[in-house]
């Protein structure tokens, strides 16, 4: 029996591809399969219908066992139209199944896709793939015969017809899907009729040969939902505000792909959380800092250009030693770059992108679900160490949905602000080097802070050379001490005799993990540590690393982490990297190093 299958859905952005994908994820997850996804939107808001630039894609991988990436090339490709086929045909494995919606390959569709009127795409396809043409339009209209809607409106249910086919093909429980559909569409039967028609079509007639029964794995218990990275961050912030029990100001300026966090929080309205759409990124970070000065937790998020604009504000946060969380949802750079694509090329800037000696903790989330936990850790460090923290996410994490077990509130980590009673010197450090947090409103606590160098202890302006030297080192030491709040160093993969260690960080997790597991399965002795803590590094990392002859660092940039690690360790590491705006696939990694 198959252990996993990769399916790619693509059609016009108006075809409801992402919605269809979302339904499949939920159905799969509820039926005990693991699932990972990858979305690909057009860069345009509304590209002209039927054109190649208007194609929206959704890939998912369904598996019997637990998996970590959405897979590389597809076993099955559902093409809603000629443009979709043109864009993604090369993604389908030779011999794979092409499920083509007949009407999407008619003359009009060819014209919209700027293809010659006589192009016979499906004939060409048959040379490489198994092709199953499905008259999606006719089936849909047929199913909705009784419904009193215009043809245009009926056609919106096409995606549900396909859902029905796929539900049957991958042996997912139709009861689950139907319950979902009832819940989503409330009373409206149109979509459910189309779904059932698709399911029946598949079962009774045509697609018997293509059925892939997947084993179910033993599902984890609990209450679940699907979340993407943006939602995970929003929920993580809500949880952090709850754990802190103080006001949180989420202040940000819209930018793709970070804005979805703003939308989520504005929609969710979690307790303690105020949402501000600031006039620009500088206002976003400085108003967040104002909130922190006032005794709340300031949070801001952005992507590339916005990170650049926040450099000065971060420096003030470093100097005033106030908590702040900055989430950078990385995208293709430099400059405006490739705003809808993914990349890990802001790492160096996160580490070094402020004038003066201005170190701060830098963390990275690996998946959507992991972003929830990492946001909580970032908030904990910010508050408990009184420091700004940068959390790196990226467009890939932000947009990929995965099933997530909703945690128990009791199990969330605590967030304990440092002492904040009056009468303390503004900068008197505790044993961990942390200054007190005496918020305005605290009786007798009046004091002034600012961006000028402060005298040790009192925080009063000081240009004294020895004081400056001491303060520079104390601020750095305080940041280094943040590592006390890390959990144990997690070794993802471990071979007893490995002399090669793979290091990666952020959203490459799924692909790298699959690649490493494949290598291990093939007898290559590699260990793997996926870094969540980019600064300071986990204290146990260096001793671990010293045990390996060879260290391979994998990332989606031109080797930024590799450069940084060499800088710290003064030992060679091998850099395996690419900067294409696309996530790594396991296939690609297999070829990139040996």
């Amino acid at each position: 029996m198959e252990r996993n299958v990769v399916v790619l859905l693509a059609g016009d952005s108006g075809d409801g591809i992402q919605l269809l994908g979302g339904q499949i994820v939920r159905a799969a997850a509820q039926s005990g399969r693991d699932v990972r996804t990858l979305s690909d939107f057009p860069a345009e808001i509304r590209a002209p219908q039927g054109t190649v630039s208007g194609v929206s894609g959704f890939q998912f991988r369904l598996a019997a066992d637990s998996i970590h990436d959405p897979g590389a090339r597809a076993d099955c490709f559902v093409a809603f139209n000629a443009a979709a086929y043109t864009k993604y045909a090369s993604q389908l494995k030779p011999g794979g199944l092409l499920l083509a919606a007949s009407e999407g390959f008619d003359a009009r569709s060819l014209a919209l896709a700027k293809l010659p009127a006589d192009a016979d795409l499906l004939a060409e396809a048959r040379a490489q793939f198994r092709v199953l043409e499905v008259p999606v339009k006719d089936l849909t209209l047929g199913a909705l015969n009784e419904v009193s809607l215009g043809q245009r409106d009926k056609m919106r249910a096409r995606n549900m017809l396909v859902l029905g086919i796929l539900t049957w093909m991958y042996g997912m429980p139709t009861e689950v899907v139907e319950t979902e559909l009832h819940a989503v569409f409330r009373g409206d039967e149109t979509n459910i009729l189309a779904y059932k028609a698709g399911f029946n079509f598949a079962e009774t007639l045509e697609v018997q040969d293509y059925r892939v029964a997947l084993d179910r794995h033993d599902p984890e218990r609990g209450t679940f939902k699907t979340i993407n990275g943006s939602q995970a961050v929003a929920l993580g912030l809500a949880a952090a505000a709850h754990q802190l029990g103080r006001p949180m100001l989420y202040s940000s300026y819209p930018i793709t792909p970070a804005s979805d966090i703003l939308h989520e929080l504005a929609k969710l309205q979690p307790e303690h959380v105020t949402v501000l759409q600031a006039e620009d990124e500088i206002a976003a970070v400085t108003s967040a800092l104002g909130a922190s000065f006032a005794g709340g937790l300031g949070v801001t998020a952005s992507s590339g250009p916005g990170l650049s604009l926040k450099a000065e504000g971060l420096g003030l946060a470093v100097m005033t030693e106030l908590p702040l969380v900055l989430i950078d949802v990385q995208r293709g750079g430099p400059s405006t770059g490739l705003p809808t694509k993914t990349e890990q090329s802001d790492l160096s800037q996160a580490l070094h992108g402020r004038h003066g000696e201005a170190p701060l903790p830098v963390l990275a989330a690996r998946t959507a679900a992991d972003a929830f936990d990492t946001v909580l850790l970032a908030a904990k460090i910010a508050v408990e160490c009184m420091t700004p923290v940068i959390l790196l996410s990226d467009a890939y994490i932000a947009g990929s949905a995965q099933p997530w077990r909703i945690p128990e509130i009791d199990a969330l980590p605590s967030i304990t602000p440092p002492r904040g009673t009056a009468g303390e010197e503004a900068y008197a450090r505790d044993a961990q080097g942390v200054r007190p947090w005496v918020a305005p409103g605290t009786p007798g606590g009046a004091h002034r802070i600012g961006g000028l160098e402060g005298e040790e202890g009192s925080g009063r302006i000081s240009y004294d050379p020895a004081n400056h030297q001491a303060m520079v080192r104390e601020r750095a030491a305080k940041v280094d001490a943040a590592a006390r709040l890390y959990g144990p160093l997690e070794i993802v993969q471990c071979c007893p005799e490995a002399d090669t260690l793979v290091l990666a960080w952020g959203s490459t997790y799924g692909a790298v993990r699959s690649d490493v597991e494949r290598r291990a399965a093939q007898g290559q002795n590699v260990d793997y540590i996926h870094l969540r803590h980019l600064h300071p590094l986990h204290p146990d990392l260096k001793p671990m690393v010293d045990r390996y002859r060879r260290v391979v660092v994998i990332e989606m940039n031109e080797g930024q982490l590799a450069h940084h690690l060499q800088g710290l360790w003064a030992r060679p590491v091998e850099s395996v990297c690419k900067t294409t705006g696309q996530p790594f696939t396991t296939e690609e990694l297999a070829e990139l190093w040996n």
Binding site: R26, A238, Q269, E271, V275, A446, I449, G450, G451
Partner: protein, 321 residues
């Protein structure tokens, strides 16, 4: 216990140039804090960078000397996190109008509930004498040895244009007037933009003499009072403004034109306030030009209230048992 101005003076040594107009403003500010019964524990003075922006250090309350131009944004965050605080913004003509222009207009249009004290000395003091957005055409400064070619910004028309709800002007050299306006700015519900003419005796000395000097003040400074005719010229006014077919007109007071014929100042009239703000020549208005009621910002942005459990479980969930 009643606090006095002394209670609001911090221990920090004041480091402005001897003779700087900032001293008087600081003095009136602490006196107004005392006289309005401000609570030092709930008072927060927020500034950007500049000579003027050093003020928070000298006030014994909470204070943050933030980044050049960013005080309105910092203050916005403070107010959103704790709307109960009495927040003041201290800024300069460079801080507020050059690098900080964007935050200023957005604070004003949102009606953030904060007085904004703009110390206008028509120069960059702290960086030693470059021209600022309020410097005059032809002004010779370190960066314009041949005279500035930039047309100055008028902070008052800018504020009105941005939708400010309270706009006024005062000066370092008229302590009582300044104290009065400071107190009013604090009492206003919303953003209160108070431009304060401040003499930088090192880099632009005497810029405002025409209006601040006892000898010439009566000729050039028009002190506005709501409900009163707009007149000037000494204890017995000699001149007044008329509102003539929608344009201000200077009239000598005479039998033909008495105070009763003069334009009666009405700070709720936005258009007339704009006309007054536009007086950029020898004649300049002081006092409250405009005041209006509009909901304040922080109040419209309440924190969320949905309990965490509900938030975590929002949307489509499923349970595996």
């Amino acid at each position: 216990m009643e606090l006095t101005a002394k209670n609001f003076q911090s221990a920090e040594e004041v480091r402005w140039c001897p003779g700087c107009g900032d001293y008087s403003i600081l003095k009136q500010f602490t006196e107004v804090l005392a006289s309005t019964g401000a609570d030092p524990d709930r008072t927060v003075v927020v500034s950007g960078i500049g000579c003027s922006s050093r003020l928070p250090y000298y006030v014994d309350s909470y204070g943050i000397h933030s980044l050049h131009g960013r005080a309105p944004a910092v203050a916005t965050g403070i107010k959103l996190a704790n709307p109960d605080l009495d927040v003041w913004i201290i800024t300069g003509d460079g801080d507020a109008l050059s690098i900080g222009g964007n935050h200023l207009i957005h604070a004003l249009r949102r009606n953030l509930n904060v007085p904004i004290l703009l110390f206008n000395n028509e120069i960059y003091g702290l960086t030693k004498g470059q021209f600022s957005p309020t410097s005059r055409e032809g002004q010779v400064t370190k960066s314009t040895p041949r005279g500035s070619v930039d047309h100055p910004l008028n902070p008052l028309t800018l504020a009105l244009g941005a939708g400010a709800t309270w706009v006024a002007r005062s000066m370092d050299r008229s302590p009582a007037h300044l104290r009065d306006l400071l107190a009013q700015s604090q009492a206003h519900q919303g953003s209160a933009l108070l431009e304060i003419y401040q003499n930088c005796n090192v880099f632009h000395d005497g810029a405002f003499e025409a209006w601040t000097d006892k000898a010439t003040q009566a000729l050039h400074a028009v002190f506005l009072e709501a409900g009163k005719p707009i007149a000037w010229g000494g204890t017995e006014p000699t001149h007044a403004l008329a509102w003539n077919a929608g344009q201000p007109e200077v009239r000598a007071l005479s039998r033909d034109f008495s105070l009763a014929d003069a334009w009666i100042h009405d700070p709720s009239d936005r258009l007339k306030a704009f006309a007054l703000a536009e007086l950029e020549g020898e004649l300049r208005p002081f006092g409250l030009l405009y005041a209006a009621k509009r909901p304040v910002f922080a109040a419209g942005q309440p924190a969320g209230t949905r309990p965490l459990r509900e938030v975590l479980h929002s949307g489509r969930t499923w349970t595996v048992e």
